[in-house]
Amino acid sequence: MLIQVENLRYIYAPRTPLARTALDDVSFELRPGERVGIVGQTGSGKSTLVQQIAGLLAPTTGRVLLDGAAAHERTSAARAQRRRIGLAFQHPEQQIFEQTVFKEVAFGPRNLGLAEGEVVERVQWALAMVGLDPAAFVERVPFALSGGEMRRVALAGILAMRPDVLILDEPTAGLDPRGRRELLARVGSWQADTRMTLILISHHLSEVAGLAERVVLLAHGRVAADGPTHQVLGDGQLLRSAGLSAPQAVTLLEALRAAGWQLRTDRLLPEQVAAEIGQAWRRRSES
């Protein structure tokens, strides 16, 4: 799906004393299958932006187009496009309401009007995708599961709709380090399997670095930067000016450079950093 955001502006509670501009003149385009990270300080407009893309909020001015259809409109064309978007809010386990895991995951597919056989198949598939054994889990009560399991059930409920665009708003918030790593690895493999567009919101820049090929940096509701991941997240100064702290890898490379080493700072993953330092070390010992 081609997502076009054009001069998007959104004001909460306009013309009241509580008015607040959440998004201001935001424009960008997402091509099908792209893996994009949206980063920014708390209150920079990340969540508002993805809700606009999912058509849950109407723009104050500007527009969001999903394959040409305005995202928030109440037309059947727009609704059909919206159904291709899966949005997982922060702490998605809070939306769980059904009595069994099966019913919970089946809620989305049933809303799509699928036949029961297809629904069963999708629930099984989605549970397997999040790493829960369907046979063991379908009949269990979701409220009796652990927090991490509930999160995975909720995500399965969204995956079961087989979205073309998957939006994850802080998917790892509140998980332990191991839970984070596992979930991120899964997200990567879902994207690789289905070639869906992936939009990942996170203030853990290292998580974004591992998954996204492109990063949109928001600051005060505006696009402060939009480019390849290493370019945006490798620019410590840019990130700091937007109120974020640079990833540890970048901070390390910056410190080395400040100490007189000649190396690039836009390396984000541990193995890239190791390679960069190794090369710089060799250059140093040769000269």
């Binding site: 909460y12 509670a13 013309r15 009241t16 004393p17 509580l18 809700q51 999912a54 849950l56 159904r83 978007i85 899966g86 949005l87 809010f89 998605p92 809070q94 939306q95 769980i96 309401f97 059904e98 809620f107 989305g108 809303n111 799509l112 409220f143 409920g157 969204i158 709709m161």
Partner: protein, 265 residues
């Protein structure tokens, strides 16, 4: 919260925001009773001017206030419609054996005027006073009932806590609503039964989170040594300042002036 609901508290700074809640509640009560003692056009106009001045002083959101009053105005007009016909007196228009009388028009207009004023005063109070302050004010005003073993403190506490969570709840309902909509839930079509059933995915998560929140709050209060029976002191004590006194005197003087003019003219 993305909405400015009628009468919603807005944390702003105005002379009225800074007043003691007890003074504001007393003054509001006075301004709500006063219209019922006013019967002349002059008095009514003066009283309206007094309320308008208060609204200006409160830096009230005029647009929102006007919208609220307009809504109530039509309702009141409908309610007191029969006054126009049912009051005996000088007929103005006669139509099919029923006549609108001058006296009836005046009586009906008075009622509409009173209701509108009532609503304005009430929204000015809630607009300038936070729910917590309201609860504290109520507790202070009803304090004497403690003597007859009426649980004023406990009720005030329950009130404060519930009011505290109103915005939280609204925010939560909004998020869950959006989340379920993103999963293809449809809240707008079908008959009554189907629509009611479509709210289950909203209400179950809200109840679950309310219960969890209540439990967490109870634990937190317990951990801080809260006991329901003991006498409590408070961090922010209500205290009357010179501007509270000034406000009391102003309202009192203005009220007496209006009532006096009413008498002697």
């Amino acid at each position: 919260m993305n909405l400015l609901l009628p009468g919603m508290y807005v944390a702003a700074d105005s002379p009225l925001h800074r007043l003691d809640p007890r003074v504001k509640m007393g003054a509001a009560l006075g301004l709500m009773v006063l219209p019922f003692g006013v019967h002349t056009l002059l008095g009514s106009l003066l009283l309206a001017a007094l309320v308008a001045a208060t609204a200006l002083l409160a830096r009230a959101p005029m647009r929102a206030l006007l919208r609220t009053v307009l809504g109530v105005f039509w309702l009141a007009l409908l309610m007191f419609f029969f006054y126009f016909f049912a009051t005996p007196g000088q007929p103005l228009i006669t139509w099919g054996g029923i006549s609108v009388t001058a006296e009836g028009l005046a009586a009906g207009a008075t009622q509409v005027y009173r209701i509108c004023l009532l609503v304005i005063v009430a929204s000015l109070l809630t607009y300038t006073t936070s729910p917590t302050q309201l609860a504290h004010g109520l507790e202070a005003l009803f304090g004497p009932l403690e003597r007859v073993h009426f649980p004023v403190r406990e009720i005030a506490l329950v009130l404060t806590i519930s009011l505290r969570f109103v915005p939280t709840f609204f925010a939560e309902i909004e998020t869950i609503f959006k989340a379920q909509r993103a999963r293809g839930a449809d809240f707008y079509s079908g008959g009554l039964w189907r629509r009611l059933r479509s709210l289950v995915p909203i209400f179950v998560p809200i109840f679950v989170s309310a219960l969890r929140r209540a439990e967490e709050l109870a634990t937190a209060m317990d951990a801080r040594g809260f006991r329901s029976a003991s006498r409590r002191t408070r961090l922010y004590r209500l205290s009357l300042g010179w501007h509270d006194l000034a406000a009391c005197l102003t309202i009192l003087a203005a009220s007496l002036l209006i009532l006096g003019l009413e008498r002697w003219t």
